[in-house]
């Protein structure tokens, strides 16, 4: 390893600026996609949490000893779409952005050592849907795969011990959300699955407005 020269750093900083602008373009569209999903499910955004690190420090709180990840919280981020009482059942919904599965894909990886992550080419970027009926993921402890790897592709369905609560989750590759058609296909698939597997309370708030009759 050799140190960067001032000239090297000029080039690095240039790429950092490019990376930030790329992230801005990407994240703006991811947020728009989540907004569309919420609209289709008749929900609103009700706050979010970073699943990978802590909340970005602000208002003088936090410490410069915090991880840089704390300032990059959309690495793995939950958009909570609220809780509603439907026919006496508490229905919670969330969409989770997993910008990079690399940390989770490599067993034993350390968060502050990106060399230990799986290679970017072998990792994935995806959106995960999560719905809970009379329960939420915290109730399942280690049974809930919060840190899904790229190989987790199907539906996961968990039941509470007394059978009254159901949790359903599935991750979809970000490529499924390329456009409106793809996003509607995901929504149709997910809602249909939930309705057939114990959560009929989830439904689309309206039919496809551009439906071809």
């Amino acid at each position: 390893m050799s140190e960067l020269t001032q000239e090297d750093l000029v080039a690095v900083a240039l790429d950092v600026r490019k990376a930030y602008r790329l992230l801005y373009l990407f994240q703006a569209r991811v947020m728009d996609t989540v907004k569309f999903i919420a609209e289709q499910l008749g929900r609103n955004y009700h706050g979010g949490w970073c699943w990978f690190s802590s909340v970005a420090p602000r208002d003088g709180r936090g410490s410069l000893d915090n991880w840089a990840w704390d300032w990059l919280n959309m690495y793995h981020y939950e958009f909570f779409l609220g809780e509603e009482l439907v026919d006496g059942n508490r229905i919670r919904l969330a969409v989770i952005l997993q910008s990079d599965t690399g940390f989770y894909d490599h067993s034993g990886a350390e968060k502050t050592d990106i060399r230990s992550f799986a290679p970017v080419e072998e990792s994935e970027t995806r959106l995960r849907f999560l719905v809970g009926k009379n329960t939420w993921h915290g109730e399942f402890g280690k049974d809930f795969p919060a840190t899904e790897t790229r190989t987790s592709v199907g539906y996961t369905q968990l039941k509470t011990a007394d059978g009254s609560g159901t949790l359903i989750t599935k991750s979809f590759p970000i490529t499924s959300f390329l456009n409106e058609t793809g996003t509607r296909q995901v929504l149709d698939e997910f809602v249909t699955y939930c309705q057939s597997n114990g959560i009929p309370e989830i439904r689309l708030s309206h039919s496809h407005p551009a439906a071809i009759i």
Partner: protein, 237 residues
Amino acid sequence: MLHAIRNNKAGRNFQDAVNWRSLFGASEDSLTSSVFGHLFYLPASLLWEVLCKGAYNLELPCQSPPEIISYEFWPRWDATHTANTYSVEPDVFVRTSEFDLIIEAKRHDYGQQNPKQWRDQVQAYLNEYGCEKNVLLLAVGGIDHGDEQPTHLTFPSRTILVYKCRWRTLLGALRTAQQQLPPDTPHLSHLLKDLIAAFGLHGYATNDWLATMPGSELTRLKQGNGLQTLLSKSSQF
């Protein structure tokens, strides 16, 4: 009201709680009133610009954008010589200094408009207002594939043009107008934002998709030597 419905506030305080968002989202009348109700608040020049861009081949029968004199939702007109028994009810009726405009809206974008209904609406208009003024009909939504060109309705005294428009193309025109607004027009920006939100409430996509990542921007962002330098000099990678 629009915001109360979008945020699931409307309907909560009634004895039998009703999900207004779901009800309104499915309603043709709600879509029509929330979109056109806001459209008429726009300055005439912007209103007609949006309608002309959103509709297929719409040409106004005048040189400059006319001011709106009045607008009315769901007027009831004399049904004489129509298929209706009591009255004919177009969705919106607009009077301008230059011409009158009948708007017939359908909930979805394809396959619901009916030329017989257009004819009845024009006949009912003639029953009410006679032949003094130029009149157009704008069919919004419900347009069959390949039926985007104007339809000519022939009456003994005149021929009426029916122009076509899809909600989705109207939304596109509004989003373009929003992007092109001068920076010193925040009130128009708020109006257009609410208009676009009304489309969102009714299930239309109002967002930028990942497929629309701007190519010109991405080309400029192509990684250069900096990352390569890091790769060669840093053990971090």
